[in-house]
């Protein structure tokens, strides 16, 4: 996750338009009230909250993945757009480059 966020922030620093999409278990990364210190992990919520400073505001979660895990948007750290698998597929096709984790 850390090395993936490094790419996200670096792309923004190079004035690239960044669109973030969370699907599958990736959605858990956005959950509020995480206790990263229990597992001796770094708390990524600080980075997610700072994304807007980097002009990264286009953040989507996949509707089907949210439903399958019974997660609602108010349980997430940051404001997101909920999009269907079909919509996200179309958006990914518009990207020049796609990075995934």
């Amino acid at each position: 996750m850390q090395e993936f966020l490094d790419i996200v922030l670096m792309a923004s620093a190079f004035d690239q338009r960044v669109v973030l999409v969370f699907e599958g278990d990736g959605i858990y990364a956005l959950m509020k009230d995480q206790q990263a210190e229990v597992l001796d992990l770094k708390d990524n919520s600080l980075i997610f909250n700072a994304l807007s400073i980097y002009d990264i505001n286009d953040i989507s979660v996949e509707k089907e993945s949210m439903q399958a895990r019974s997660i609602s948007v108010d349980q997430l750290l940051i404001p997101v757009i909920t999009s269907s698998r079909h919509e996200l597929k179309q958006r990914l096709q518009l990207a020049d480059q796609v990075f995934s984790l």
Binding site: E3, D6, I7, M10, A11, A13, F14, Q16, Q97, F99
Partner: protein, 130 residues
């Protein structure tokens, strides 16, 4: 066509490094320009100087070094990925008390900025390994 590559997986366990190497051979033969190979995540192990596979096996690290020597392909290892995994280049090794340099010949160490530069500069960026 200008092509940049990114390698995300270590050699020997996954096919990524082999596929990438064969892809580059074919691309160069077809007259394409490989402007950079960027090693990220566990891909940094492709640069491990002390790698010594048995004599009857392919030597992935040596293959990269030879690729650089023969075609001048820019082989860039991400500094933060590398340091996380104990691959220190000479100046950092001296500072942190590691080996002389963990990087094989032909590789250089740099930051993610060089990945972004390649992404912007190249006509195609192709990632091997997840």
């Amino acid at each position: 066509m200008k092509i940049s590559l990114q390698i995300n997986a270590s050699p020997y366990q996954h096919q990524a490094a082999d596929s990438a190497w064969h892809f580059i051979q074919a691309a160069i033969l077809s007259g394409h320009d490989i402007c950079r190979v960027f090693f990220y995540h566990d891909g940094v192990f492709n640069a491990l100087r002390d790698s010594r596979p048995p004599g009857d096996e392919r030597d992935v690290v040596k293959r990269w070094s030879e690729l650089h020597a023969k075609h001048g392909v820019d082989l860039v290892v991400c500094v933060s990925s590398a340091q996380r995994r104990g691959l220190l280049e000479q100046t950092v090794a001296k500072k942190l008390g590691g080996y002389q340099s963990a990087l094989a010949d032909g590789f250089r160490i740099a930051g993610l900025g060089l990945l972004m530069e390649a992404l912007i500069d190249a006509d195609r960026h192709i990632t091997f390994g997840d």
